[in-house]
């Protein structure tokens, strides 16, 4: 076991040297990757921050249960925040569809009214000879 540890230590020493001797371009890429990751670091949620600062006091319960409560509440808020835009979009689509349908119904009603109050009887529109006569007149 001691031999194994000693051997592993020697390997580690060589590996560390190898890691230290990385080419500059690789080191730069790693630095850029690190900075990119840091820019996206997850921040503690508002509720957790308040709880951490001692603004929210929960009487009773262990520290662990308090942590659990905060965690599930913040998760709930995150869910709501994610769900809200989807709900708004769905409501918008339903509204547009309803408005479109009612517009169409009104247009149809207008056409029906025009046809009924016209001097020409509606059956004339179904007559092929009449349509042909109108076309000839336009030509």
């Amino acid at each position: 076991m001691n031999n194994e540890l000693h051997f592993a230590y020697q390997i580690k020493r060589h590996l560390n040297e190898s890691a230290r001797a990385l080419p500059v371009n690789k080191v730069e890429r790693l630095r850029a990757a690190r900075e990119y990751a840091l820019a996206r670091q997850k921040k503690p949620s508002g509720a957790a921050q308040l709880a951490g600062a001692g603004v929210i006091h929960v009487s009773g319960g262990s520290a662990a249960s308090m942590g659990g409560g905060t965690f599930s509440r913040s998760n709930g808020f995150e869910w709501l925040a994610q769900l809200l835009p989807v709900a708004v979009l769905a409501a918008g689509l339903i509204g547009i569809s309803y408005w479109h349908q009612s517009n169409r119904a009104e247009e149809n009603a207008d056409i029906d009214t025009q046809m009924l109050i016209d001097e020409l009887p509606p059956s004339a529109y179904a007559d092929k000879g009449f349509v042909a006569w109108i076309k000839r007149g336009q030509e």
Partner: protein, 189 residues
């Protein structure tokens, strides 16, 4: 909660080793850099608000999973490549590593050591790295986490998702395989 500086310090401390670990696993520099970047991002995005003491374990677990994902993706990609082309390229893995390149890349560096010592040390380093690459994935993973990252047996088991007994077995086998391979090349540490 970890401050940005604590996370930055942790990543700066671990990034080179993480890169090397990924290179030993996937044997491709660019893929290894992508893997490390992915792992860093996942740690920052998902666990950036955790206490800094948890970072080493979390990061190693993420890194190992990202390496495994890379292998899965490569497998799927090579399956489709083989399906659509009988002239599939040999792949990026392994072929581009040459110990001589390592020596050439750092030829210009100056140190107090004599040139002969430096060359000999670099040859030893290259041999060690080559033998580590040859280890079975799980053995290499266990060896790296346990002895290079200094995780204890329980932490290594957790990071690898296996039992502590398996970690000990993997480590022991890896050590013996490495020792035997280096001895064959006349290298004694």
């Amino acid at each position: 909660m970890a401050s940005p500086k604590e996370l930055s310090d942790f990543l700066a401390e671990v990034e080179r080793r993480a890169y090397k670990q990924a290179v030993y696993a996937v044997r491709n520099d660019e893929s290894a850099l992508d893997i490390v970047q992915d792992a860093m991002m996942k740690l920052a995005e998902k666990y950036g608000d955790r206490p800094p003491e948890e970072f080493p374990m979390l990061f190693q677990r993420i890194l190992q999973n990202t390496i495994r994902d890379w292998f899965r993706r490569t497998k799927v990609r090579s399956f489709w490549t083989m399906l659509f082309s009988s002239m599939a390229p040999a792949g990026e893995e392994g072929d581009d590593f040459d110990p001589l390149e390592t020596l050439e890349a750092q030829e210009g560096s100056k140190s107090a050591q004599s040139a002969a010592d430096e060359v000999s040390q670099k040859q030893v380093m290259a041999s060690i790295e080559k033998e580590i690459e040859k280890l079975p994935a799980r053995q290499r993973e266990a060896f790296m986490l346990r002895y290079w990252e200094d995780l204890d047996v329980a932490e290594t088991a957790q990071a690898m998702g296996c039992s502590e007994g398996s970690v000990k077995t993997h480590c022991s086998r890896a050590t013996h395989t490495l020792a035997a391979a280096l001895k064959l090349q006349g290298i004694s540490l």
